[in-house]
Each structure stands twice: as C-alpha cells, then as structure tokens.
C-alpha cells in the first residue's frame, strides 16, 4: 500500500500509517506470490479449457440452385477473418453479417483499419475482392450472387497497435 503520494496521503488519513509501508508492501507481495504459485499449477489446464469453449452463433441461410445453404454466422466470420489477414498493411476490425427474413443472408460489412500512411483505396479494393472471392468459395452459386457493388471508406479513429 501507499505506493503513490496520493495513496500515501489517503493511507495516513485512514490510519494505515499504523502499519509501515514496507509491511504493507511485503504483505501484498507475499499474498500475490502465494496465489501466483497456485496459478502456475493450474493455468495450462484453465487455458486449454477456456480455448475449447464454443460460442453460440446465429444460423445464416443462402439460396443456391440445389437448395438452401445453411452456415453459422461464426463460421462465416471466422473464415473471412482468416482469409483477410492475408492483405498486408491492414487489419480486420469487425465483420457484420446482415440477415433478412428467416435468417436469409443479405450481405456483409467488413470494417478494417490500415497502418498509418498506407494507401487506403488499394487496401480496401484488395479486401473487398478477397472477401467476395472467399464468400463465393464458401456459399457457392447463391441467389442473389455474391457481388460487391458499393464501398465506403470511413476514417473513424487512430488507434495504437
């Protein structure tokens, strides 16, 4: 405790000066060390379990000549995200699947960010073309066919890596 001047002031107000700062620091360090020792024992197991958890996902239905194609929203998003990481200089921030009545596939919005200074339009073109190609691979000849007819470049924010 009392690691900062603000904190030290408040500690004195609260009467914690009855116990020295060194004692508080030692107690906190000892408590952390005790818990962290157990964490070392269990963290691999917990990590493996956490990574096996599944996520509920909405069904998406697309119409193909042979009949409806059903795919989960999460599969579609993961497949696209994995594909779009191939575009250099940019990163996918979000993928939103639009659905119509009865879970019908209606379109996809891909939000991306680019490294500062990278030319945005070529990156957006590459992302758009790759997304359309991968959607055609995944969904096949659906109706309406996968096309990309509009593109919007919206400069939203500047983030740290």
């Amino acid at each position: 405790m009392a690691m900062t001047p603000q904190n030290a002031h408040e500690s004195n107000e609260a009467g914690t000066a009855l116990v020295s700062d060194a004692r508080w620091a030692a107690a906190i360090t000892a408590s952390r060390a005790h818990t962290d020792a157990r964490w070392v024992e269990i963290s691999d197991r917990m990590r493996a379990r956490a990574l096996r958890v599944t996520r509920r996902s909405l069904p998406i239905t697309a119409q193909a000549p042979s009949g409806p194609v059903h795919v989960s929203e999460q599969v579609l998003i993961t497949y696209l995200r994995d594909a779009l990481t191939a575009v250099p200089g940019a990163r996918v921030d979000d993928i939103i699947i639009a659905v119509g009545a009865q879970d019908a596939y209606a379109g996809i919005t891909v939000a991306i960010s680019a490294r500062y200074g990278e030319p945005l339009l070529p990156i957006a073109d590459a992302m758009r073309d790759l997304a359309a190609a991968r959607l055609r691979d995944l969904l096949g000849d659906i109706t309406p066919p996968v096309t990309v007819t509009t593109m919007e470049v919206h400069i939203d924010d500047v983030l740290e890596a």
Binding site: A27, A50, V53, R55, T78, G89, A90, V92, A161
Partner: protein, 186 residues
C-alpha cells in the same frame, strides 16, 4: 497487420477474439487471467478451488460476450467486471460459515528476532488474508482492485458499477479496518 500477436493492444486483441480468433483470446488469457484468479481467491476467502471454478466461468462468459465488446471500457476492467459478478454469485451460493473466534481477536505479532523471512512472509500473508475476510464485500473488492491490481478509482467504479466517490469511501474504510487488524505488524 504484420505485428506479432504479443505486441498488439488489448482492444485489437478483443476485436480479433470477438471474431473467433482463439490465438488472440489465448493472449488475453495470458495477460489478464492471473489477476482475475488473484481477485477471485481473495474474494472467496482463499478457497482456491472455488476461485478456479469462478475464473473458468468468467473466461467462458468473456469468450461468449467478446463479439459484443466495443471498447467502451478497458478490456482489463471489463474482465474484472465479469469476474466480480461471477464471484459474487459464487459467494451467494456458498453456505454461511460460523465465524472463527480467531477472527475476532487480535492477530499475534511476530517476534523481532523471528524465524526466516519465508516464514515471516507466510504469516504476514495469512494475517492480511484473514484481515481481508473481515471486510464487507465491496470494501474488500475495492481494496484488492486498488492495492493488488493497481486499478484507478474510475476503473474500480466501473468494475463494481458504482461511482468513484463511493469507491474512495470504501477504500478509506477498508484501509482503516485493515490497519487496525494489522497493527501488530507495524
């Protein structure tokens, strides 16, 4: 982009994990799960098994909710909020236990010429953890998040869904109580 997953910010990791990137979620785990566990252990009176269950539950909830994470709060704060809710539920499910007389009496002080540091630290830790069990839930939570994990008042208020002014008061009372309980260690 081209950077290693270990170098990217929490917000970027959260967005990637929200889109199903398990490598990003693994990095989130590596960065924050140990702190979640420390918090759970101390909020559950040192019950390591219960804390493990609570953190596992919190991580599963986090994975499920990550698609909706938009970065309004820091990822760490958001994870602590989930953990705090899970831990609170776990505490409510536990059967009440009789208060040990030891909790109501002053803690013994170590002799100045006591045993080796390791033993002293173990006793100091035990004294702190015992003293923590006497704090009301919110005071204990605020103290742990501030002193163990270094969260700001605003972040603690976000985790505990209250105001920074209330957090300040809870910390003040918690420090006062702990100081009295730990006075033998001055």
């Amino acid at each position: 982009m081209d950077e290693s997953v270990d170098d990217v910010s929490d917000l970027v990791l959260a967005r990637s994990a929200g889109m199903g990137d398990r490598a990003a979620f693994a990095t989130i785990f590596d960065r924050h799960a140990a702190a979640m566990f420390r918090y759970a252990v101390n909020m559950l009176d040192g019950d390591l098994d219960a804390a493990e269950d609570a953190v596992q539950d919190a991580l599963e909830r986090a994975w499920s909710k990550l698609p909706g994470f938009r970065g309004e709060a820091q990822l760490r704060t958001w994870l602590f909020r989930i953990t705090a809710n899970v831990v609170l539920s776990a505490r409510r499910r536990r059967r009440p236990i009789a208060v040990d007389d030891e909790l109501l009496t002053a803690l013994p002080a170590l002799a100045e010429t006591g045993p080796v540091h390791q033993v002293e630290h173990a006793e100091l830790r035990a004294a702190l953890e015992l003293a923590l069990t006497e704090l009301p839930w919110r005071q204990r939570a605020a103290w742990l998040l501030r002193e163990m994990e270094g969260l700001s008042y605003d972040e603690i208020a976000d985790v505990l869904q209250t105001s920074p002014a209330v957090v300040r008061g809870q910390l003040h009372r918690a420090r006062g109580t702990l100081a009295v309980r730990m006075v033998q260690w001055r």
